[in-house]
């Protein structure tokens, strides 16, 4: 079950990368976003980060040491956004 913050991130991802055939509510918050999970790639990561910067003012760099951790699931991404958001 997704929290309301997680649901918001799930919607943002779906809109950003055009996953029209997935319902946000269906996504497992702990499941992988990339490759084996939703099957997203680096351009998707870029699109998601663009939306995150617009909506929350969060800036993501891949030289952030925990980048893989941040993007590993809806749950970890939501936690990162919540603790780094500017607006």
């Amino acid at each position: 079950m997704l929290t309301s913050e997680q649901l918001e991130i799930a919607h943002l991802i779906i809109d950003a990368v055009n996953l029209e055939d997935i319902e946000a509510e269906e996504i497992d918050p702990q499941a992988a976003i990339f490759n084996d999970g939703l099957g997203l790639d680096s351009i998707d990561a870029l699109e998601i980060s663009l939306e995150l910067s617009k909506k929350y003012g969060v800036k993501i760099k891949s030289s952030d040491e925990n980048i893989n951790q941040i993007f590993s699931s809806i749950s970890t991404l939501t936690d990162y956004v919540q603790s780094n958001k500017q607006n």
Partner: protein, 463 residues
């Protein structure tokens, strides 16, 4: 440029020595770097420890490293045994199994191993880092004779690259180091890379455009290169500022550039040029980039078979200017072939071109509609459809690509679930081409001779 390396008659030892000891691959923002001479020494040692076993059979190595220094060291070390460097088009089980079948003595340069490659000899970055450390602490004196010897010995070594031909199956393109050197020489001249500059590239070294711009151009010119393949704009920004002494040159694709310019960032003055390739760049996007990033935008034209052969400044002209020594030959039936020092014989072009003058300036015509490009990767719809139709439980289906959507749509007649279909497709095709969305239909719209009606698929997608 290359002639100066090989021309021992001219006493250019000093020039060579200087060039070889200049910063070449930047490893961090504090000036830590590798020089060309260091890279050569590391590659020699890796070759000694990994490939020098006197076995007569041909050695091959798949190179999966994304970081430029690990990639180049791997590429050189296999070439030093006159082996094959294999740059796979994707990492699907299907592709990797084929490569294993074709190469009995197969090594892998990578930090992570796909399941199919678990059995192969494996060289990771930790091993290479150890050699780098050794070389850094015990530099061998520069030796002009040795350099010429090394470069001469690898000229015939092969690099296997892949493209999706319009006929369906991925097509292997074999390039020798000599051909890559010859092609690089022309590009270096065109982009004035004998003037020091820093290259930052978002493209992988495993594809032709990346191989040229991140490996061969900087190796043979005075350009340096940032070691990572940055994805996020913040990373590109910090890489651009790595050496503020020299202008920066960003190598990317229209898809990536379109995203980058959408971020609200302040770009430094040092980004002198952007080179874009792999898909057409709109004039509108080129204008935006020039305005927002305070830079000049150039497009590069080429293919896996030909390497890059022409360029244009997108905001100034529609017309492509071929590199020096490139010429086009009209073919009997239709279309053109290209002749270049970077290819063995002449190579027919996939694109229709219209020559404008005696200097072979040209404009590009309609592209083959079977070939699509997504995220800088090329695939053939025929090939994708072929893979999809091998899935048990699919009655019929068709991939659909429209210029307006960023990804492919799959129209499908099947009882399988979306999840099941994606699970199998992931084994067969590159993730960039996984369909979004998958649309289930009762049957595909066809005309009276059975041809799929793409106009109706397009209407279905819009509805």
């Amino acid at each position: 440029m290359l002639s100066f390396l090989f021309d021992c008659q001219r006493t250019l030892e000093e020039v060579n020595e200087h060039w070889l000891h200049e910063p070449f691959i930047y490893l961090d923002n504090n000036g830590l770097c590798l020089t060309r001479w260091e890279i050569l020494q590391v590659a020699l040692q890796v070759n000694q420890s990994e490939f020098n076993d006197q076995q007569s059979e041909i050695k091959s190595a798949i190179i999966l490293f994304q970081q430029r220094h690990y990639f180049l060291i791997s590429l050189l070390s296999i070439a030093l045994s006159n082996g094959r460097a294999i740059l796979p088009p994707n990492l699907t089980a299907h592709t990797l199994q084929n490569l294993i079948n074709q190469n009995s003595n197969l090594n892998v340069f990578s930090d992570t191993l796909p399941e199919e490659l678990q059995e192969q000899e494996h060289i990771n970055s930790e091993k290479i880092d150890q050699v780098i450390e050794k070389v850094k602490s015990n530099q061998k004196r520069f030796d002009q004779k040795k350099l010429v010897e090394i470069l001469s010995s690898i000229l015939d070594a092969q690099i296997w690259l892949y493209t999706s031909g319009s006929t369906g199956a991925p097509k292997k393109v074999i390039k020798t180091w000599k051909q890559m050197f010859n092609a690089a020489e022309l590009a270096i001249e065109r982009f004035n890379l004998m003037q020091p500059c820093n290259i930052i590239a978002t493209v992988p070294s495993q594809h032709m455009f990346g191989l040229e711009t991140t490996i061969f151009w900087p190796l043979l010119s005075k350009a340096s290169i940032w070691h990572e393949r940055p994805i996020f704009p913040e990373d590109i920004l910090s890489a651009v500022q790595v050496n503020e002494k020299n202008p920066a040159l960003l190598v990317s694709t229209p898809l990536h550039l379109n995203k980058i310019q959408a971020f609200d960032l302040t770009w430094p003055k040092g980004l002198e040029r952007i080179l874009s390739a792999t898909a057409p760049l709109s004039t509108q996007l080129a204008k935006k980039l020039e305005q927002n990033l305070q830079t000049r935008v150039y497009e590069v034209y080429g293919s896996t078979e030909t390497a890059s052969i022409a360029s244009r400044e997108t905001t100034h002209t529609l017309c492509w200017k071929p590199y020096r020594k490139i010429s086009f030959i009209k073919l009997k039936n239709q279309g053109y072939a290209v002749s270049s020092p970077g290819i063995e014989s002449i190579q027919p072009l996939h694109d229709n071109i219209e020559l404008l003058d005696d200097n072979h300036h040209f404009i590009l015509g309609q592209r083959d509609t079977d070939l699509i490009k997504i995220a800088g990767k090329r695939a053939s719809l025929t090939e994708l459809n072929h893979h999809m139709q091998t899935i048990k439980g699919i009655t019929e289906g068709s991939f659909f690509y429209s210029e307006n959507s960023k990804r492919l749509t799959l129209f499908i007649v099947s009882q399988l679930t979306r999840h099941d279909i994606l699970m199998v497709l992931r084994q067969l095709i590159d993730p960039a081409f996984l369909p979004r969305p998958i649309i289930f239909v009762e049957k595909l719209p066809r005309n009276n001779v059975g041809k799929i009606l793409y106009s109706e698929l397009s209407a279905l997608l819009k509805s």
